[in-house]
C-alpha cells in the first residue's frame, strides 16, 4: 500500500485528483459536526449578500450561508453519487460476470436487457420515477443507479471474457471449482482495477447527473441543500446575485474534475498497459 501510494503520488493526475477529492470528502465529513452557520436557519434580513468577511461565499435569498450550504451539499452529492455507483456495481457486475460465465443465449439476453436500459436517458427515467414515487434524493439515486447498471455490466462482462481463457482460470476449472466460485475467487479480484477506475468515473458522472436532476426539480428536495437545487434557485437572481449561481457551479466542476483526475491517475497507476496510450 505504502509502495502503491509512493508510485501513485508521482502521477500528477492522481496526486491532484486525490487531493481535491479528499478535500471535498473532508468538507462533507466536517459538515456533520460543524458548519459556519446552521443551514436550516433562515435569516431573511441578511439575504442576498455578496461574499464578504463573515459569509465567505455570501448568502442566498433566504439569508442562508452559502459556504455552509456548499459543505452540506457536498455530503448530498457524494451520498447520491456513491449510492448510485453501489447500485451499478452491485447489480451490474454480477450480471456481467454471470453473462460471461454462462455465455450463449443468457449472455445475449442479459446484454440486450442492458440495451433497453441504455435506451432510457437517465433524466427521462428520473422524470418517470419522480412521477410515480414523487421527486426526491432516493429516486435520484435509483435513476442514476439504473443508468450505471449497464455500464458496469458491459465492463465486467468484457473483462471476464478476457479472463476466462487464461491459464490460471483453466487450472482452477481443472481443479474442479464451479463457475460461481471461480468468478468470486478469481475473476472479480482480477478485474478490480478496471472496476475501481470505472467507479471513479461513474462517481463523477453521478455528481453531474444529480445536480441536473435537482436543477430541474426532480432530485433532492428542500430543505436539504443540494448544489443543483442551489443553481435552480439562483437562476432568476443572476442579474443581482451572480455569486448564487457561480459558487455551486464551481463546486460541481471542482469535485467532478477531482474525481476525473483521480480516475485517470488510477488507470495509469493500476493498469500500465492502458496508460501507454495516455502518456
Amino acid at each position: 500500500m505504502k509502495q502503491f501510494l509512493k508510485t501513485a503520488m508521482h502521477n500528477r493526475s492522481f496526486a491532484t485528483g486525490i487531493v481535491i477529492t479528499c478535500f471535498i470528502v473532508l468538507m462533507a465529513a466536517v459538515s456533520f459536526i460543524w458548519t459556519p452557520y446552521d443551514v436550516t436557519n433562515l435569516d431573511i434580513t441578511a439575504k442576498l449578500k455578496a461574499p464578504y468577511g463573515s459569509h465567505w461565499f455570501g448568502t442566498d435569498h433566504f439569508g442562508r450561508d452559502i459556504f455552509s450550504m456548499i459543505m452540506v451539499g457536498a455530503r448530498n452529492s457524494i451520498a447520491v453519487a456513491l449510492a448510485a455507483v453501489i447500485i451499478g456495481v452491485g447489480i451490474g457486475v454480477p450480471v456481467g460476470c454471470w453473462a460471461a460465465a454462462r455465455g450463449g443465449q443468457l449472455d445475449e439476453v442479459l446484454m440486450r436487457g442492458n440495451d433497453v436500459v441504455f435506451a432510457f436517458p437517465s433524466l427521462l427515467s428520473a422524470a418517470m420515477i419522480a412521477a410515480v414515487f414523487g421527486p426526491g434524493a432516493i429516486n435520484a439515486i435509483i435513476a442514476i443507479g439504473i443508468f450505471n447498471i449497464p455500464v458496469f455490466a458491459r465492463l465486467s462482462r468484457g473483462a471476464a471474457l478476457t479472463l476466462w481463457p487464461r491459464d490460471f482460470i483453466m487450472a482452477a476449472r481443472a481443479a474442479g471449482k464451479n463457475k460461481t466460485r471461480i468468478t468470486i475467487e478469481h475473476i472479480i479480484p482480477n478485474m478490480a482495477n478496471v472496476l475501481i477506475v470505472q467507479a471513479t468515473v461513474a462517481f463523477a458522472l453521478g455528481i453531474i447527473l444529480e445536480a441536473g436532476l435537482a436543477y430541474v426539480g426532480l432530485g433532492t428536495q428542500p430543505p436539504t441543500p443540494s448544489w443543483g437545487k442551489m443553481l435552480n434557485e439562483a437562476q432568476t437572481m443572476m442579474s443581482f446575485a451572480p455569486h448564487m449561481a457561480v459558487i455551486p457551479g464551481l463546486a460541481i466542476v471542482i469535485s467532478v474534475l477531482g474525481l476525473n483526475l483521480l480516475g485517470d491517475g488510477l488507470r495509469d497507476v493500476l493498469d500500465p498497459r492502458l496508460s501507454r496510450k495516455r502518456d
Partner: protein, 316 residues
Amino acid sequence: MILFLIRKILWAAATLAVASVLVFAALEIVPGDPAQVMLGINATDDAIAALREDLGLNKPALERYFSWIFGLLQGDLGKSYTYSVAVRELVADRITISLPLALLALVMSTAIAIPVGLYAATKRGSIADTTIMAVTQVGYAIPNFWLALLLVYILAIWLQLVPAGGFPGWDGGLVPALKALFLPAVSLALPQAAILSRITRSALLDTMGEDYIRTARAKGLSFRATIWKHALRNTMIPVLTILGLQFAYLLAGTIVIENVFYLPGLGRLIFQAIALRDLIVVESAVMMLVATIILINLVVDLAYLWADPRLRHGRP
C-alpha cells in the same frame, strides 16, 4: 453480413418492444387521474366517470396497451387528453426542435473535437498538447446547464448579444431559428467536445502504435500520409462508439437545456404532460425518444461495418 444486419434490426425491434412495456407499466402506476385533472375540482364524480369512459381509461390495461401499440405501428400516436389533438402533431412540433438541437450540438462537438484531438495526438507531449489536455479535462467536468446559465448571463443579459432564449419556429426562416438554437447547442456541445477530443487523441495514439502503422512508416510513408491513409479509419471506431452514446446523451441533455432557454422541445412536452397526467402524450413521446436512441445505436452498429472490415464477417 446480411445475417448480421437482420440480427441487429431484430434486436432493435425487441428492445423497442420491451421498452414500450416498461413505459406503459410505469405510467399505469402513476398516481393521479387525467380525467380529474382535466375537469378540475368543480367536476362531479359522474362527469369524471363519463370522461374516463370517453378517454377509454376504463378498459383493461392489456387492451389499452395493445390498442396503443397497434396505433403506434400504424403511425397513430393517439390523441392528447388535455389538448384534444393528435399526439403525432404535438410530438412532430417538438421533435423538430429537439432533434435539430441535438444534431447541431453533435456536429459542433465533432467539428471541434476531432481536429483538436488529432492535432493534440500529432503534437503529443508539446505545450499545445498539454494545454489541450488540461482544458478538456476541465471542460468535461462542467455541467452543460451551468455553462448555459453562464452563457445566458454573459451573452444575453449582460452584453445583450443574442436572445436569452425562445424559439421563433422554423416558419420564421432558417437564420433566426438557427440563431435561437446556437447558444443551447454550444452549451451542449462544449462539454461533449472535451470528452470527444480526448478520445480521438488517445484513439489515434493507440492506432499509431499498431504494427501495421509502424510498417507503413518503415516503408517510408510520411507521418501525415500514414495518418490519412491508414490510421484515421481505425481511429474512428472508438470515436463512433462515443458519438453514438453522445447523441443519446445530447438528446437527453436537451431536456435540461430546453429549461434554461425555454425551447418548446420534446423534453418539456414530456415534463408538462407528466404534470398534467396526459399519459398518452407521455407514453408516445417517451417512446419516440427511446426509439430515436435505439435507431441511433443501430446506425452506429452499422457504421462499425464500414469502419472495421473485420466485423463484416462473423460475429462481432
